[in-house]
């Protein structure tokens, strides 16, 4: 299996994860979606030095990963390409912010290090929450929820088709890569000189395929409006659960729960 095939398999596994049977999966995407947005906004709103306050926010995704039977390890593995970028965001902070915030033994910890860690954690927590949303709902249900939240149909359809188009392009790329390697057995990757024609061909082939899929859609009555399936309507109980969780997020944001817990023992 080449790397593109592997990536494609992982991509499709995301959809399969959404088919699982758990309370998290049954929880309507219509509530999960705004809840995830609130969680991310809450996480992002923490002060750059509020590391201990932020730390408690990891409990929410971890709890729901457990409840949904979704592996945290798989999540971090799948996010391996994005995580370094997220982590790199604050990498220069220790150089610019040298004010000492705390001491551990003889070691001075500067504000730069704390803010770097805070930024990294914010990124990781946000990605984990987004992953949890997609892995427990699937793109179809998320799009259905977006429509019910009155996000314009054009944007939602664009999101859905872009998501689908990734697989179309990846499949073509996988076939082309296999064909290339079969005729270039000693090469590790694709030679630089072939990149231009390779990408050009990939684009043309993907366009042809997308065109055929578009025709297939039109032949079956598509006129710009998608009918999404699988979305369970949100009950009052679901909304109340959502509000309670959102309230917990805000509580954790306003009160440093880690410090409160610590004060019980110190």
């Amino acid at each position: 299996m080449n790397k593109i095939d592997q990536a494609l398999t992982e991509f499709r596994e995301m959809d399969e994860l959404a088919d699982q049977d758990s309370p998290v999966h049954h929880f309507p995407a219509l509530v999960k979606l705004p809840l995830t947005v609130i969680y991310i906004l809450t996480v992002l709103s923490f002060h750059k030095y509020d590391l201990s306050g932020l730390f408690v926010m990891i409990l929410f995704p971890l709890f729901f990963f457990q409840l949904g039977g979704i592996s945290v390890r798989r999540c971090l593995y799948r996010l391996r390409y994005v995580l370094p970028l997220v982590m790199a965001v604050g990498i220069l902070n220790p150089l610019f912010d040298r004010s000492v915030l705390l001491r551990i033994g003889n070691v001075n910890i500067s504000g730069g290090w704390i803010s770097m860690l805070t930024l990294m954690m914010k990124g990781v927590f946000s990605l984990m929450a987004s992953y949890l949303l997609v892995a427990s709902s699937g793109i179809g249900r998320i799009c259905a929820a977006l429509r019910r939240l009155h996000v314009p149909a054009v944007l939602v359809t664009l999101l859905l088709l872009t998501y689908r188009y990734v697989t179309v392009m990846s499949e073509e790329a996988a076939v082309m890569t296999d064909a290339y390697h079969l005729r270039a057995p000693k090469q590790k990757g694709i030679e630089y000189s072939a990149w231009g024609s390779f990408l050009g061909q990939l684009l043309l082939r993907s366009m042809d395929r997308a065109d055929e899929i578009w025709q297939a859609m039109q032949l079956r009555g598509y006129h710009g409006h998608f009918h999404y399936v699988g979305e369970t309507p949100a009950s009052l109980k679901d909304w109340l659960t959502g509000i309670l969780l959102a309230g917990l997020f805000v509580f954790c944001r306003c009160w440093n729960v880690t410090a409160l817990l610590g004060s019980l023992f110190v």
Binding site: R164, A216, Q218, R220, G221
Partner: protein
């Protein structure tokens, strides 16, 4: 049910693909459209489905195929594409099956009834919630037919329905095609399949109709077939 009257089609490059093609297919009839590569078979299918537009008149039922009648035409017509991967663009068989009925405003309950009936008829009930990328080529082809049948079309166009199928799955597709009451037009290079499914055959070469008649008569005419870059079906060669 299907009618083409003096239809011609050419691309902007000036190449003529179809030249004054006329034929009629009656209600419930199953007709095979055969010819070598580049004969114009797929172009005829695309003209019937309103993907391309040429000169002359194309009718599905009593509805002329024009840009402003496409909705009506496509409601009557189901087109099984040669490549099932292109046809099955939704993640699961079920989602693909509800796509057309829901687009045509069929109620949820009626759609469910149709889907269950079609899957049962084609013995595909187990595939209902399968992911499209996880099913085999043969299953995908059958699912593609099921997807079209869920539309309850009056006319079914099939482009190479048995291409790249193993003998077992090919036989399943042939049996499925034979069990359909709809008007069917099938293009294929698998002449044995055409012989098994179609009562009438239209032979096409270089955009013109060369012969039209009973499947047994045309498909047993070695001279005619070989003159137009084709071969006798294996059933007639005695091999």
């Amino acid at each position: 049910m299907i009618e083409m009257k003096h239809v011609s089609f050419g691309y902007d490059t000036g190449k003529t693909v179809l030249d004054d093609v006329s034929f009629t297919i009656g209600e419930g009839e199953c007709v095979g459209l055969i010819g070598a590569n580049g004969a114009g078979k797929s172009t005829i299918m695309k003209l019937l489905a309103g993907i391309l537009f040429g000169e002359g008149e194309v009718l599905i039922g009593s509805t002329p195929v024009k840009k402003d009648t496409l909705y009506e035409v496509r409601r009557k017509l189901g087109y099984v594409l040669q490549n099932s991967d292109h046809q099955m663009f939704m993640p699961t068989v079920y989602e693909d099956m509800i796509f057309a009925p829901r687009n045509y405003g069929i109620s949820k309950e009626e759609t469910e009834k149709r889907i269950d009936a079609v899957l049962e008829k084609l013995d595909l009930t187990e595939l209902k919630h399968s992911r499209n990328h996880k099913i085999s080529g043969g299953e995908k082809r059958m699912a593609a037919i099921a997807v079209i049948l869920a539309m309850e079309p009056e006319v079914i166009l099939m482009d190479e329905p048995t291409a790249s199928l193993d003998p077992y799955n090919r036989r399943i597709v042939i049996n499925a095609v034979n069990s359909l009451p709809q008007t069917r037009l099938i293009t294929s290079h698998d002449l044995d399949m055409i012989l098994d499914t179609c009562s009438r055959v239209i032979l096409l070469d270089k955009g013109k109709i060369i012969a039209e008649g009973r499947a047994e008569d045309i498909l047993s005419d070695r001279q005619l077939l070989e003159a137009h870059r084709m071969e006798l079906p294996l059933s007639y060669t005695g091999r």
